[in-house]
Amino acid sequence: MIELQTPSLVEWLVTDRCNLRCRHCSTWRAGEQDESTTAEACALADRIAALRVFTVILSGGEPFIRDDVAEICGRLSSQGVSVLIPTNGCLVTPEAAARLVAAKPSSVQVSLDGPDAATHDAFRGVAGAFDGALRAVAALQDAGLAAVGVSTTVSALNVDKIPAIIDLAIARGVRALNLRLCMPCGRARQDYAAMVLTPRRYRRLLEDFVRWREELRGRIDLATVEPLLCLVDPELSRAGADFEGDDFSGCGAGKTGCCVWPNGDVSPCAYTDQFAGNVRRDDLGEIWRTSPVFRPYRRYADLVQGVCASCEHKRICAAGCKSRTYGLYGTVSRPDPMCWLAADHERDAAAGEGGGDA
């Protein structure tokens, strides 16, 4: 398999600072780090564009806490880079929305984790966050941005409320809704049982997602980048097609994408703390090509081990989300902890070792 000479996607955490106190996240506890200056950020934007990166996710922390987020966005978009900005929305005033829309982001995704203030604000840790999110959606729409989406962090706390969240998004004229699973890191790692879905509930969520996506086609675009979606989605099953030379399916962490942290550190993903270098010291392209940190993420044989090696979905799935696996086990060479097939296999194996007791 070839290795990409440059990443196709960079998630860029432009700040650690955040105005909310989300239940699943510990970033806000870190406080203000040594984040890039505007000049440093523009220089990095130029380098990212020169590396022919397709997409940059300008994330955080809360990106709108920086006064220059529109400037960074414009620096990228003017050089042909697609820019996606997730935000909690609370700082997106009409003026901020207008400045950002002028900088031509591809899309902005406002976090919406409940269909009502009680659910959303409890998760986001600050009263008024729900109203702030809805105001942001309206401000961005009023500023003329067509691609205003919402993003829902799915946890055990809100998984049963997703249909109501979708209804609310449609009622607010939102074109796209992205579901992303609460990751076992930060505070969610410490409160794992209460926050993270079981593999079986996760499977049901993905099956529901496929059904909702079809039922709602034309009203709202439902999306998710969950790597295990391929286990239940016939469209993705087809996508492992013969027209591919080298196969880049599965989780893109370290393989097709990487993350730049506020202080310039580079990791395979925003959810892993394995650092490959620092863009203040080293060139991003050089880090991508040479750092040994990325190696395990790119070697298919290393990723697809154990029960995954005999799985019929292994070519497309490639053992699922590597950050989840690394976050729980400290290695990427194990099955995704959310994989219900692997969980069933381990349960059966354990029952066999136990002598088959009922």
Binding site: L9, S106, A241, E244, G245
Partner: protein
């Protein structure tokens, strides 16, 4: 013919939302909607290159035939690859803009034929009940042409339809 439908000329067009770049000896594509990353094999890369502007599938095959010596198996592989790429949303199917031609498509196959407006009119009146003389009269009534010109057009069209199995040999109807 019951298994042949008529429609506007369909073309393959690159999905405008898909980003791509050369990578090594191949082409790397990303569909931002799914963040799916594709590294195209040689055939798929040649198809992608051939579709710099929207093209009919047959035009893609013709373009590749100018570069490579294609067997029937190669052509079948190209058609399957085009279909796979369209299913993966790398291509979208669009109608050829401002085109007066009509496309005859054999349902559930990749067989298709582009015909001009005169042939499309003739196709529309070939229903198995009309004789060639009936069709000539219909053509004269529809267009400002002499009977001789109309008869030539009808003969050519019927020969074309027969050649491609679109009408029966013994019966000028489909």
């Amino acid at each position: 013919m019951p298994d042949v439908e008529t429609k506007r000329v369909p073309q393959l067009a690159r999905n405008p939302n898909v980003s791509f770049r050369t990578e090594g000896n191949g082409i790397l594509l990303v569909n931002p909607a799914t963040r799916a990353v594709y590294h195209l094999n040689e055939t798929a890369a040649a198809i992608w290159e051939a579709c710099e502007k929207p093209r009919m599938t047959q035009e893609v095959v013709d373009a590749l035939a100018e570069q490579y010596e294609l067997s029937s198996a190669d052509i079948a592989a190209i058609l399957k690859t085009v279909d796979d790429m369209a299913r993966s949303s790398l291509f979208v199917i669009q109608e050829r803009a401002g085109d007066p031609d009509t496309y005859l498509h054999r349902v559930n196959t990749t067989d298709g034929w582009v015909i001009n407006p005169t042939m499309a009119f003739i196709w529309g009146v070939v229903d198995g009940s009309r004789t060639p003389d009936d069709i000539v009269r219909a053509l004269v009534a529809e267009f400002d042409v002499t009977e001789d010109v109309a008869r030539g057009a009808v003969d050519d069209a019927l020969a074309y339809f027969r050649e491609h199995g679109l009408v029966g040999e013994g019966n000028d109807g489909p």
